[in-house]
Amino acid sequence: MAEFTLNVNGVRRPVIAAEDEPLLWVLRNQLQLTGTKFGCGEGQCGACTVLLDGRATRSCLTPVSAAANAKITTVEGLEQQGSLSPVQQAFVAEGAFQCGYCTSGMIIAATALLREHAHPTDEQILEAMNGNLCRCGTYPRIVAAIRRAADTEPEMETRHAG
């Protein structure tokens, strides 16, 4: 066990954990940030995706020690002054969820995609999102939500950096 300071959603949070403990469990069980989900623990489903210095990262495969010097953004950190981010708004507008368990990971992955490509091509959407599973099969609406977010907010990469 060691002490780490995590920079999560703009707040410095001290935690005590084993070096190899996945960031996912520290976020969920120590910091009560349960919006980030456990789906497989094997990097295969994307439910645990967080932004690490702006990059979509599987928190289930990221040791907490490797995240200690990074800026971490979870789904709880996307709202700005009580307003949903453009991607969050688009998911609501398109009804792009059924059970919603994949939604946090989808929104984070889509946020990272739109930071890199403000107006992504179909291929860029597939490339960025194919690692995220929606077992309810809501894919067409998630793609529609990403397109909607891209159309409504071309400047989002600066507003929601990191």
């Binding site: 295969q44 368990y101 939604t103």
Partner: protein, 705 residues
């Protein structure tokens, strides 16, 4: 649903009779509600879901509370149904708002909490909309009538002269009005419903029938919604369970001494059950890894010999004499075999439970489609009465028929009992793929005959092990027989799955229909319509074909078109598929169009979402999902090895909804999955001439994203 079908389904769902007499004390509940209006249901006055007499048991004659209207006008609705992503929380609230004449936002739903909601068998079988919908609408009408009568008394007027709308009772003659909350006025009003009050016709719906967005949708994009695996409690500890190295294993020995040395680790041993509890998940995982256990795993059937063993293990389907006689007179005779593999539900949220003991009483938050069934499991496991156990089901990360059982809840409760503190247990993905249960594999034999003009004369369909749902043909054929043959000793735990065996039976039947259409040289759609008298099924076939552009162009070796459809559980559906074959002979599913009709639509947006999802999920079973197993082990218990549909696998999808406001609303959670597989198989045949008679249709490489 007839009683015998319940029994068969129960068997498939691994649900035994879990209904037993118990006395719920409703006084605490009423105190909790305080003043206001409470609508209750007496005994079995209305044919309600929970009122079915099954297996010789009748339900306790309790009075269940369904709707409470508080003095501030807040409406709370209580139902034992659960939300698993099918959007029933929203659509039931719409139905209540409609009949009660209040805004949708005034309704809050309490679901799947065994202490607060009326008993319910479970959320499966597409029953929530056709049974719980009318049930709650009845209660809402009773509440509205009571409010009108109370206002009428207060004003000294005839209740028939008053109107109820927008959460108020109004006297149109003088403009007087009273909000519902003010009418209840702290006074305790109770009405016990004992009849079927008149419901608002779907044609007049203003709230039901509209595309209201998912209730609490915002909480799903902010991470605020708490799933079962998100629940936390003061002093919460984390558990893990040691799994055997194979099915039906017995423990030879286990050395836990190394695990015990880890800080804060408690080992819980109870017969062959070994679990650990620790202050964090990581430590619990390390502790499990340090346990050295030896298991004796008996010889077991492997997936490579599955169908051979399956046929040996079931009674043989003797050709039916009447069907054979009709078949002998047919111009074209047909006999084929189809198979379906074992598949897994793979809900994205694995089984999860948080268990807490307090003064001999057990509370468990867990993801299940049967909270009351799990309460029974817990009561039996710990020799408690059911009123000492409370199961709470927060809206969970899906189930698809895969979360009927309560193993994880029982395990968490066992660990929490030993630890003396609340314990959370979340199954790993490998555990979910291995120790849950599976959609049964099966063989389906079809023997049929038709005249050269396309008239079906004979149809025999024998289903071995996969199940009886959707087994009866919807086509008009004079001599027909459908039989289900049970496998008493299957190699894997079998259970419910979205659509049950309907997917397998439709795959076989609609593939066979396609084969026969080609044999008599008819267009596959025309062949179906020639033998179809059911107007609702004809309508969806024609609607899907129209939207798809069926018949406008012909299949080529590069592009194939296929169609398939059917009906089950009150839903009618047909799908058309377009597949492309590339230069490397790989198959791409390019486009799917599916038409759907299930009576009056309660929420078109939720319905569209669910049908689309069923189609995507159906592609997985059709194309690549298959559990591989050997020596009592699942060989592909990871998403890396068990392929499920992803973004790249999703074709262009169109859903055509047919709203029959003149017909009662049926459930739509399941049957939307049945048409995709045969439509795709038939499209592949149209392009390649190759007939694929097994689900999944190929081993991975054939299908390209």
């Amino acid at each position: 649903m007839p009683a015998d079908e319940w029994m068969t389904e129960d068997h498939l769902h691994e649900i035994r009779d879990r209904v037993r007499a118990f006395e719920l004390d409703r006084r605490d509940f009423l105190r909790l509600c305080g003043g206001g209006l409470l609508v209750c249901l007496a005994g079995t006055a209305i044919g309600q879901e929970s009122g079915h007499a099954r297996g010789g048991h009748t339900l306790p004659e309790e009075v269940s509370a369904w709707i409470h209207i508080d003095t501030d006008g807040t409406v709370t609705v209580f139902t034992g149904k659960v939300e698993v992503g099918q959007n029933i929380r929203t659509s039931l609230a719409q139905s209540v708002a409609e009949e009660l004449r209040v805004a949708f936002g005034a309704i809050s739903m309490v679901m799947g909490d065994t202490e607060l909601t009326p008993w319910d068998m479970g959320t499966f079988g597409s029953r929530s909309t056709p049974t719980m919908g009318p049930q709650l609408r009845n209660m809402a009408v009773a509440a509205r009538q009571l409010l009108v009568e109370t206002a009428a008394r207060r004003w000294g007027v005839d209740p028939d002269t008053l109107t109820a709308a927008d959460g108020k009772v109004t006297n149109p003659r003088n403009g007087d009005s009273l909000a519902y909350g003010a009418i209840t006025g702290g006074e305790k009003l109770t009405r016990t419903v004992s009849g079927d009050p008149p419901l608002t016709a779907a044609i007049a719906w203003k709230i039901a029938g509209t595309a209201i967005p998912k209730a609490n949708g915002r909480d799903f994009v902010t991470g605020k919604h708490e799933y079962p695996s998100d629940i936390t409690r003061p002093e919460l500890l984390f558990g893990k369970v040691l799994r055997p190295t194979g099915f039906n294993a017995t423990m030879i020995s286990a050395d836990t001494s190394a695990a015990e040395k880890l800080p804060g680790v408690l080992i819980v041993r109870d017969g062959d059950f070994i679990g650990v509890v620790a202050g964090d998940v990581w430590t619990a995982e390390q502790a499990i890894l340090k346990i050295e256990a030896k298991w004796n795993v008996p010889q077991q059937i492997s997936s490579h010999e599955l169908f051979e063993q399956l046929k040996k293990g079931t009674d043989s389907g003797v050709p039916d004499a009447a069907v054979e006689k009709a078949r002998a007179l047919a111009d074209v005779q047909f006999s084929q075999q189809y198979t379906v593999a074992y598949i897994a539900h793979a809900p994205l949220e694995p089984r999860a439970a948080v268990a807490e003991w307090h003064e001999g009483k057990l509370t468990v938050w867990t993801g299940t489609q049967r909270p009351f069934g799990v309460r029974g499991d817990l009561a039996r496991a710990f020799r408690l009465s059911e009123d000492q156990v409370r199961v709470i089901m927060p809206d969970m990360g899906s189930g698809y028929g895969g979360k009927h059982t309560g193993e994880c809840a029982v395990e968490a409760a066992r660990l929490a009992k030993a630890a003396g503190k609340p314990v959370k247990l979340i199954w790993t993905r490998e555990e979910e793929f291995t120790w849950a249960y599976f959609r049964p594999a099966g063989i389906i034999d079809i023997r049929a005959g038709a005249r050269r003009d396309g008239t079906l004369l004979a149809w025999q369909q024998d289903n071995y092990n996969s199940g009886p749902s959707g087994l009866e043909t919807p086509y008009a054929v004079a001599a027909h027989v459908a039989r289900y043959h049970e496998w008493n000793n299957p190699p894997l735990a079998q259970g419910s799955y979205r659509g049950l065996a309907s997917t397998a039976n439709h795959f076989a039947r609609e593939s066979a229909m396609d084969e026969l259409a080609h044999q008599v040289q008819m267009d596959p759609l025309q062949f179906r319509l020639k033998n179809l008298t059911d107007d609702r099924l004809r309508t969806v076939f024609i609607a899907a074909a129209d939207r798809f552009g069926w018949g406008k162009s012909h299949s080529t070796p590069q592009l194939g078109f296929g169609i398939g459809g059917g009906t089950e559980k009150g839903g009618f559906t047909a799908a058309c598929a377009e597949v492309a074959i590339d230069a490397d002979h790989k198959i791409h599913i390019r486009r799917l169009v599916q038409a759907w009709e299930s009576g009056a639509i309660v929420n078109p947006d939720g319905l569209r979402n669910q049908i689309m999802g069923a189609m995507v999920q159906g592609l997985g079973g059709a194309l690549f999902e298959s559990i591989q197993f050997a020596s009592g082990q699942v060989l592909n218990a990871h998403f890396a090895d068990y392929r499920v549909p992803r973004f790249r696998d999703t074709p262009q999808i169109e859903v055509v909804l047919i709203d029959r406001k003149d017909l009662p609303s049926a459930g739509a959670g399941e049957t939307g999955i049945v048409a995709v597989a045969p439509a795709v198989a038939n499209a592949i045949f149209a392009a390649t001439g190759q007939r694929l008679r097994s689900m999944p249709m190929a081993s991975g490489e054939t299908f390209s994203s």
